[in-house]
């Protein structure tokens, strides 16, 4: 004991500053977090004072006198430690036989072990300063406060993460761009001469209606159809059906009354429309238009659809003669050929040729600019158009991606006859992240709408498919302009009497999104857009007109009737190689979330995932020890019950016997644990003592 004392003394002479500074340094290192700041301050201030004294006095004796209380504390501590050590010595040899898992003997040991070895800041203070009630209270308040603050921050972080924020990134790429598909339509569905037979009766009725309503005598082919009119008189079917949907005009204020033609009334008071009724003709409404031109066209095309739907095959009617529409074709200074285009027929826009649709050999421009794009000379002659259907002359062009259907009425561009139209393109891509980040679909497989088109998913494809499917479901037939679902047939009022009524009703619902098509159809995650801008110049020029037309007539059997309006030139080219990609990237990834959580955790507790593992271990240990203890207690109780001895006295002896028996390793472990403890414990106690001292001072 004496030796111990001197050892302590010896240490005291020069150790305290270093030791405590060392401790302080450790604390600084460990507690950059919030909790430790107070602690640190408290720890440092006396030490600094101490050090100054030290340097002044230079001797040890004065200091020993100065702090007798602490010294004695330390001595006793050391002594106790020493005794423990002594006890430990003989057991050292046995310590090597370590169990697989060893448990503490009591809760007290368990907690002591935990609080002296845990890495959670604050917890040590909470448990180890239990001698001082004030302190415990203070630390527990701090502990729970920081705990609360941390979880508040955690909540904010989680909320931010699960809102899946995206940051927009805009890449400016430049590559050699593959040329998009270009679809060019004639704006004339059929040669009038080819379909005149079918449309004959409709035309006659239309002429009659126009005559009745507007006093307009459309006498283009009067003699022609008049001749047929007589011999086709017998087939009254069409007339009958057309009569079901008469074109009428009526006053704005009382639309229900059908008026006779009354010329003196001011024109603007009239509305033109046609009647649509359901099958029983008890519910009718007027599809009205403010302009007669619109009304007549709509009415005509309504009947036209019916006629087309009845025709067995429209294939033999369309004239897919490439050379008679496109006179010259060049791409990138190279002549185009048959392999470069595909043909399809659109019931309104006529023969459509899609260039560069073949995925196997796509065009790429060698340079941006007009010379490296697609250059076409097209025929825009209008002599054989269906007069009531095509009111536009020229051609229609659309630029779209390969594998996307060409919706000519969505993104078309009309070409004027007699003009060279130069369309410059700028590509722009939009990439959405998909998943939980934004509402889009990769390939449309997760959209609850069947894709009726034989193409990739686009929003338009989906919306049209959705409408068509609804049409089939509601009206029992399919709209002619959209593809046919399997098992359905196109609408025709000879079979489906009220389909017009149904269609217009459905369309109103569709537009108001009662059908839910706009909700169901999500945007594709990857979208490519082409921004077009056009420049126009007169073509051919007055001087070159002669030879150009001459050559065209020679080569393409083009008979010049109205020179300038007969042809048009079209150039489509990339304005630049640069293209923008509007992308999304997650603004808050798992990695950053973890980093943020770690930051918060370190800030408030200085603890880590491993600290949580420690806590988990503590809880597990606690449970296991509870089990063991309760098991023991149960057995003890059982034994006492069996031996019928008085329970109070026996309990202790039982316990002792057990300890000596199977649980010897437990005892060792306890002791071993205790041996490691003092380093911390003593420190804590000393510190707390010092703290107390400070408090006294």
């Amino acid at each position: 004991m004496l030796r111990n004392n001197s050892l302590c003394m010896g240490q005291r002479r020069d150790l305290p500053v270093h030791k405590s500074l060392h401790e302080a340094a450790r604390h600084v290192q460990a507690c950059i977090g919030g909790v430790c700041c107070w602690e640190l301050l408290r720890l440092l201030s006396p030490e600094l004072i101490l050090r100054r004294e030290d340097s002044h006095l230079k001797g040890g004796a004065a200091k020993v006198e100065k702090m007798p209380q602490e010294e004695s504390m330390r001595q006793c501590k050391q002594g106790a430690q020493h005794q423990q050590k002594h006890e430990e010595v003989p057991e050292k040899a046995e310590e090597k036989h370590e169990g697989l898992i060893e448990f503490h003997n009591s809760y007290r040991e368990l907690f002591q072990f935990f609080c002296s070895n845990t890495t959670i800041h604050g917890a040590i203070r909470l448990v180890c300063s239990k001698k001082n009630k004030m302190k415990t209270a203070f630390w527990s308040v701090l502990f729970f406060l920081t705990f609360g603050l941390m979880y508040w921050q955690f909540g904010i972080l989680y909320r931010e993460y699960f809102s899946f924020p995206v940051s927009l990134n805009l890449n400016l790429n430049s590559d050699r761009l593959t040329f998009p598909a270009v679809t060019l339509c004639t704006l004339n569905p059929y040669r009038y001469s080819a379909v005149q037979k079918e449309l004959d009766e409709l035309d006659r009725i239309t002429h009659q209606t126009l005559m009745d309503m507007y006093n307009y005598n459309m006498s283009v082919t009067q003699s022609d159809w008049a001749a047929q009119y007589t011999h086709k008189r017998s087939s009254r079917s069409l007339f009958h059906y057309v009569q079901r949907h008469p074109l009428r005009r009526h006053k704005r204020d009382n639309p229900a009354i059908v008026e006779e033609n009354n010329p003196p009334v001011d024109k603007s008071d009239w509305k033109i429309g046609f009647l649509l009724c359901n099958e029983k003709s008890d519910d009718c409404f007027h599809q009205t238009y403010s302009s007669g031109v619109d009304a007549v066209r709509e009415w005509y095309s309504f009947h036209y659809i019916n006629i087309l739907a009845r025709m067995p095959s429209t294939k033999d009617l369309d004239e897919s003669n490439f050379e008679s529409f496109i006179y010259a074709c060049r791409f990138n200074d190279v002549t185009c050929d048959k392999a470069n285009y595909t043909h399809f027929h659109h019931p309104i826009y006529g023969n459509c040729y899609t260039f560069n649709d073949d995925n196997s050999s796509l065009w790429t421009s060698s340079l941006p600019g007009i010379n490296n794009g697609l250059s076409l000379v097209v025929r825009t002659e209008q002599n054989d158009f269906i007069p009531l259907l095509s009111t536009v002359t020229g051609a229609r062009v659309m630029v779209h991606n390969q594998n996307e259907p060409a919706f000519m009425d969505d993104g078309g561009f009309n070409i004027r006859p007699g003009i060279e139209t130069s369309i410059s393109m700028r590509k722009e891509m939009t990439l959405r992240l998909g998943g939980s980040y934004s509402d889009c679909t990769e390939d449309g497989k997760d959209v609850p709408v069947q894709n009726l088109y034989l193409s990739h998913y686009t929003e338009q494809v989906c919306i049209r498919s959705c409408f068509q499917l609804n049409m089939v479901k509601r009206c029992g037939c399919a709209y002619y302009f959209y593809p046919l679902p399997s098992g359905a047939e196109y609408c025709d009022y000879t079979k489906h009497i009220a389909w017009g009524y149904c269609y217009y009703k459905l369309q109103a619902e569709f537009k108001a999104d009662i059908l839910g098509c706009f909700r169901k159809c999500r945007k594709p995650c990857k979208m490519t857009e082409y921004h077009l801008s056009a420049g126009y110049s007169r073509w051919p020029s007055a001087l070159s007109e002669d030879w150009v037309f001459h050559m065209l007539s020679q080569q393409n059997k083009y008979n010049i009737t109205s020179k300038r309006n007969g042809v048009a030139k079209l150039n489509i080219f990339f304005e630049e190689w640069k293209y923008k990609t509007n992308g999304e990237s997650p603004a808050f990834t798992v990695v950053t979330l973890l980093s943020q959580l770690g930051n918060q955790w370190s800030l408030w507790f200085g603890s880590s995932v491993l600290s949580v593992a420690e806590l988990a271990e503590l809880i597990l240990d606690f449970v296991v020890i509870t089990c063991i203890l309760s098991f023991r207690w149960l057995r003890a109780w059982h034994e006492t019950a069996s031996t019928m001895s008085p329970p109070g006295g026996h309990d202790n002896t039982d316990f002792q016997s057990e300890v000596s028996g199977p649980s010897t390793p437990h005892r060792f472990t306890v002791e071993a644990v205790v041996t490691t403890l003092p380093s911390y414990n003593s420190l804590e106690q000393c510190e707390s003592n010092r703290d107390a001292e400070m408090g006294l001072e």
Partner: protein
């Protein structure tokens, strides 16, 4: 001997410089684990039970692995850029507007150079399609046919292909058939129209007549135009520049009226610019005189309004087939690539072009592969303007052209020391050019790889709308006034198809500025690192340093020391064979030497101070609490070293 001992003592003292001077690696690890602030380690030592310890080792190691993985992820994602889009309302500088007539030179003036070529073209048209422009010409052609040989048709004959599979063609000029032995290049593989109507021409290598390339065209219009252009470029290459400038349109010819920002302007505001294919062009607001104009407000009233005089009657019938003007809107420092991306203006219409200005800036290396100034690109900039991808590609092609064919292509600027191709001097250039161009298209010239895009660029998005102009009501007086303005030079009324009205204006004065910024800064990266380290192990940079210190420096020193001891032991044992007497003497002797040395050199640090209790230590080695300040314990071990050594050696 004494000196040697001193040295060894010194070495011994200095060798374990810092940290714990544990005798074995195990002790060191134990010390480290007990004292480190890194979580998990302490548990490995402190935990009781093998499985428990193993579990903690696994947990700690997995935490380390996770840290490494996440940090690697952070580092990999470091070079990402975020984009900021700012829309600012400000007074915008008006861009440069370059205006050209589509027809490069007045046909009436240039006719003297082209008469021969035109004559041959007409005759080719006649023989091909039976086209003649009028009787007098036919008569003249008939006269000429005997007199002059067709030099152009001779050089590059136009051929009509009856059947491509038979490889036979009719020479249009001579009329007799000729066999095409060469490999046919015909641009575009299969014929579309009638096989009889396939027109093309053949370009041969003059040195090796069997090496030919045949170009066919689906349309005769294209064939004739291409053929004409080929010869036209040859002719133009021989005419000196001043002459060409004189033949083109002057500013007074082209511009009838000019209005800018509500104020009248005239030809002095336009800078001439000579373009090889479009002749004289005029750049408004080129900034050449140092001032760059800007508009006070948006809208068509405050932009540039010009009326252009497009003299359609003076057009070259074969070279250009469309009528109008071409304009391009570009930055003052940019080269106007008018032939590539110019916008056409139609005659007899008013074209209004609304602009929307966007400026973009990318981050260069290492964020993306772009160039700031083009100085790092291995292609000489032939254009006297700021770098752009287009400029680079054109320059690269021109350079390759000069290298391969020995002359420069007409449409692009001349490199130093080269001259434009014409077949008087370079008879094979056309063949060479077509071959080279094909290579270029197929990316075999390496130009596309060499050229990088520029990091910052400005663009003006254009919206074009057109209207009939002048209206029938205003046509009369307007044409009369404009004719009067035009002056007495032409004593005729202007036709409305000769005029084009052009308006260029800012739609709004909002400038959209798109710039890339680094998404991560070093501060964010470090704080994320800190977060990861803290999350998994509550580690810090100090911990990392500690790990480095313990696991590398200290462990190494221990190993080294061990080695040293072993060799010394071996040496001692060898010496001991001779005499065992000096062996016990070394220990105390050394200690005696050691201490004074310490006192001499060292200040009273805690290392030296801790040596005081040493004598007691010898009696009771385990008395000092080993776990309190392990540093102390370790020093005692060093002092003990010679002793243990001795005992071992014994």
């Amino acid at each position: 001997m004494a000196a040697g001992r001193k040295i060894t003592a010194k070495i011994k003292k200095t060798l374990p410089v810092t940290g714990p001077q544990a005798p074995t690696l195990g002790e060191l690890m134990r010390w480290y684990c007990l004292n480190t602030n890194t979580h998990g380690c302490r548990r490995i030592v402190v935990s009781r039970g093998r499985l428990r310890r193993l579990l903690w080792i696994a947990l700690t190691l997995s935490a380390v692995a996770l840290i490494l993985w996440q940090c690697a992820e952070l580092v990999l994602g470091y070079y990402s850029a975020s984009v900021s889009v700012t829309v600012r309302f400000q007074k915008l500088r008006f861009p440069a507007v370059t205006i050209c007539n589509i027809n490069p030179y007045k046909y009436s003036v240039i006719k003297e150079y082209l008469s021969e070529l035109d004559k041959e073209t007409r005759s080719a048209l006649e023989s091909l399609y039976g086209f003649s422009e009028g009787k007098p010409k036919v008569r003249r052609d008939a006269e000429d046919r005997n007199a002059t040989a067709y030099q152009y048709l001779e050089k590059v004959p136009l051929l009509r292909f009856e059947d491509l599979t038979r490889k036979e063609a009719t020479d249009l000029h001579s009329g007799h058939k000729r066999k095409i032995e060469s490999n046919i290049f015909h641009k575009g593989s299969t014929n579309i129209g009638d096989p009889q109507n396939m027109i093309g021409f053949q370009l041969c290598d003059p040195n090796n007549s069997s090496d030919c390339a045949v170009y066919t065209f689906s349309s005769g219009v294209n064939a004739i135009q291409e053929w004409y252009k080929l010869h036209y470029m040859n002719i133009m290459a021989q005419i000196p520049l001043e002459r060409k400038v004189n033949m083109g349109y002057s500013a007074d010819d082209l511009l009838l009226t000019c209005f800018f920002d509500g104020l009248s302007c005239d030809t002095r505001n336009f800078t001439p610019f000579y373009h090889p294919l479009h002749g004289n062009c005029y750049t408004f607001n080129s900034g050449e005189n140092g001032t760059i104009l800007s508009t006070s407000t948006g809208g068509s009233e405050y932009g540039l309004q010009v009326v252009l005089y497009i003299e359609e009657a003076d057009y070259n019938p074969f070279l250009v087939t469309s009528t109008g003007a071409k304009i391009i809107i570009h930055d003052q420092n940019e080269y106007p690539f008018i032939e590539d991306i110019g916008t056409e203006i139609e005659t007899a219409t008013a074209t209004s072009i609304g602009m929307h200005f966007t400026e973009s800036r990318k981050l260069s290396e290492p964020y993306s592969d772009c160039t700031e100034s083009g100085a790092d690109i291995n292609v000489e900039n032939l254009y006297n303007k700021t770098y752009s991808l287009q400029i680079c590609l054109h320059s690269c092609f021109q350079k390759a052209m000069v290298d391969h064919c020995g002359c420069a292509q007409y449409a692009q600027p001349l490199p130093a020391g080269a001259e434009y191709c014409n077949y008087k001097k370079h008879p094979s250039w056309m063949y060479c050019y077509y071959k080279l161009h094909e290579k270029f298209v197929k990316e075999q010239l390496d130009c596309q790889q060499k050229c990088k895009e520029a990091c910052s660029f400005k663009e003006w998005a254009l919206t074009t709308s057109i209207a009939q102009w002048p209206s029938t009501a205003s046509e009369d007086w307007m044409l009369r006034v404009l004719s009067w303005d035009k002056g007495q030079k032409i004593n005729k009324m202007l036709k409305k198809t000769d005029l084009a009205n052009l308006m260029v204006f800012y739609k709004d004065l909002n400038k959209r500025f798109i710039s890339e910024n680094p998404a991560n800064s070093i501060v964010i990266l470090l704080s994320n690192f800190g977060g990861q380290l803290g999350l998994w192990m509550s580690c810090s940079v100090v911990c990392v340093i500690e790990i480095v210190e313990v696991f590398f420096i200290d462990s190494l020193s221990i190993i080294m020391r061990r080695r040293w001891q072993k060799t010394k032991k071996w040496w001692n044992s060898r010496k001991a064979k001779q005499s065992r007497a000096p062996a016990p003497g070394t220990g105390p002797g050394k200690q005696g030497h050691d201490n004074p040395a310490c006192i001499d050199e060292d200040l009273p640090t805690f290392n030296t101070a801790l040596r005081l209790p040493l004598p007691q230590e010898n009696h009771l080695p385990r008395t000092p609490p080993p776990n309190y300040s392990t540093l102390r314990l370790d020093t005692t071990f060093t002092e003990q070293l010679p002793d243990t050594l001795e005992t071992e050696s014994r």
